[in-house]
Amino acid sequence: MTDPIRRLPPNESAVAAPGVLPGARPTTLSDEVVLADAAALELTWADKPGLWGWLTAVDHKTIAKRYIFTAFLMFIAGGIEAALMRMQLSRPENTLIGPDRYNQLFTVHGTTMMFLFAVPIMTAMGLYFVPLMVGARSIAFPRLNAFGYYTYLMGVLFMYVSLFINMGPDAGWTSYPPLSGPQFSPGHRIDVWAQVVTFTEIAALAAAVNIIVTTFKMRAPGMSLNRIPLFVWAQVTVAFMIIFAMPAVATASTLQLASDRAVGTHWFNPSEGGDALLWQHIFWFFGHPEVYIIFLPALGFITSIVETFSRRRVFGYTAIVLANITTGFFAFGLWVHHMFATPIPELGQSLFTAASMVIAVPTGVQIFCWLVTMFSGRPRLTTAMLFILGFFFTFVNGGLTGVMLASVAFDKQVHDTFFVVAHFHYVLLGGGVMPLFAAFYFWFPKVTGRMLSETLGRWHAWLFIVGINVAFFPMHFLGLNGMPRRVYTYLAETGWGPLNELATIGAVIAVLGVAVFIVNAAISWRGGLFAGANPWDSYGLEWATPSPAPSYNFVNTPVVLGRHPLWDTGSPLPVVTGLRTDRREVLVTTTFDAQPDSRHKHPTGSIWPLVLALVMAELWIGSIFTPWAVLGGLGLTLLGMLGWGLQSVREQDVERVDTGAEIVEAA
């Protein structure tokens, strides 16, 4: 970015906002004090150097970076699988990949994209930015956070090692029993799937708990509920959804499917009184919210980006917050629309049709709000905005086919066909990946301190958006022409060849786009232009600290006087002081009004999260091979927890804040 960066004078109305900390004395901080504090804080907060420090790191930014990096690798892996599948399908009766390999590929592709890429990367974005955006020193539970990452990493490794030794799951990412049950899936392929899902659930739950507590208890003074950035609102909504959705799939996969397979329970055995449909209900009770777990954070990205580049505060903050929450709520009431072809009574189906249509409303509200924001603002067409336009082009299409799919009669025709494949790729790529790329372009400077190349970015954007649409638009027709999904080949007489060829060409274009991005990121990581603290002249607290953000995030906790702190108040922001610099301390504020409440001693680096993740991995992976591993694993896990707990107990310390915190104005 070459645009000149200018400090804006504090907005009059924002300054006039009432003091959030009654009784606090405004003082001024000299530069020397700030520099000294920064040096002391760096000593206190930085992760230890060396391999040990690397293994014991708990800085939320470090962990989130690893998360994002790993998840993006998974995106590439999933993309390679997709490309292979597109190669196989590019012409009829192709023999490039046989059915056994193909079935593993599409299963691993789906599982990777949903469990190992989309959910982790979306929550990881939250883990990186939520503390920064709410002006916190750190995340609420840094060790839990690290544990979550390592657990997720174990899942990733397990899945891909398995795939390479021909043990990749092969019953679809939905793994419907009885196909995924012990009789029809011998060996351990499906067990791998069930346990990988478990790994990612644990990781997601750890992240969700962290985001919720960080948001509700660690906001900067003054950031009352109605000033929380929409990005954070989206993350919080999703965190709650994770807490309600993930246990469902944990029950289904770990408890029911895995025990059916390992110890011969009969959850899904219709002969002995089990029920194959039970799985589908539980799975989709998780599976449908899952889509929104991926999609809602993306809406948070979009709001930040649209606001920044439209140069206008977003229209309808309250409406968007409510829309977010409504979406999260309704997302749990739609699952049956994945099951319209099953023998479920028609009245029940109708209710879910209605619910599926209703959920279009809150999404519509958000889209309309952004449109109005863009209309009444002064948009700049950066790469990030280009991706946002890609979002409008692609996602709205997918959303509308989604509304069509809510119709039972129509859904029964195109359910499980390439029409649905087209639909959800439009939704997920348009509503998830494109905003994610926009976010990469937007926040890359904050994470690395350097700008991504806009020129390469435009290549990336156009190639990707065009590629995706060329790849998936023809699939609508394929589906309507009768092509079921999850087929490894098709006959020439079906006439599906040319459109498949076209789709493959589209996939190649999209892959090129991603390749351009990888090149861009690789070059810019070390060689991009320096970004400075706030290259886009955006408004959030994350831009109120240097790029990349220091280990302690902020030298002094900023004070928030409006929804758009940097626009409202200008930089530098007022801050509170009084947190100790010689040990890790965070400021805990009240849930609603974010009044300073207490100072918490904050955990330091620890090896226990890694240890615990390892022993729990042993438990889950071992349980595939023998149920006894559960016992052994439980013992080890208990030991791991004990070690972790003892370390925490030793360090436990809470102090109430009375007058320790002060609001000061920066010099």
Binding site: L157, S162, H188
Partner: protein, 188 residues
């Protein structure tokens, strides 16, 4: 960051890799292959423990599918669809002798079981040579062996989607096979 990560990632992968190396064979699904050439020789027909002369060694033929979960499960489905289960049930026996216990009348070595299936046995066991392919018989051999735990545990079947009739093979304790003294009720 990544250079350091490579170190322990590689270690970790290697560990898991070693653990799961056997998976390669276990998870293979060889739909199309030439039937294993290892059709049993006449040694398969030896059912006596008593061999004349010192130091005679009966050559063993490895079961090609003992370690292959898919083939064992195909064997299980053949065991039921080809009516083996009509006489042997799920290994407990009925018309035919039990297959899940430690006693073997005509031998438990893969080639002996192969011969029992292919050539039949005099007391009511039909000869399946002309109704089943060699590959199918080998699949059955491995499934039959799995009934009493003679093949690796990971390749054995879990419960099926039917009535719970017994502990699944995957959880059946391994039996130590031995030859039973005589075929019961051999004709006078």
């Amino acid at each position: 960051m990544s250079s350091r990560s490579n170190g322990w990632r590689a270690t970790c992968s290697a560990l898991i890799g070693i653990l799961l190396l056997s998976a390669c064979e276990r998870e293979n699904r060889r739909f199309q292959e030439n039937p294993p050439t290892a059709t049993p020789t006449s040694t398969a027909l030896i059912v006596s423990d008593l061999q004349p002369g010192p130091g005679m060694v009966i050559p063993k033929v490895e079961a090609p599918y003992d370690d292959n979960a898919w083939a064992v499960s195909e064997g299980k489905s053949l065991f039921n669809s080809m009516n083996c289960s009509g006489c042997h049930f799920q290994g407990g026996g009925g018309i035919g002798p039990p297959l899940m216990d430690e006693e073997w009348i005509y031998g438990y070595e893969p080639q002996q079981i192969f011969a029992s299936i292919a050539d039949g046995r005099p007391n009511g066991m039909p000869a399946w040579k002309y109704s089943l392919s060699t590959q199918q018989i080998w699949e059955l051999v491995s499934y039959v062996r799995s009934l009493s735990g003679l093949n690796p545990k990971g390749a054995r079947s879990g419960r099926d989607d039917h009535m719970m009739r017994k502990t699944p093979e995957a959880s059946t304790p391994n039996a130590v096979p031995k030859m039973s003294s005589t075929p019961p009720e051999d004709s006078a």
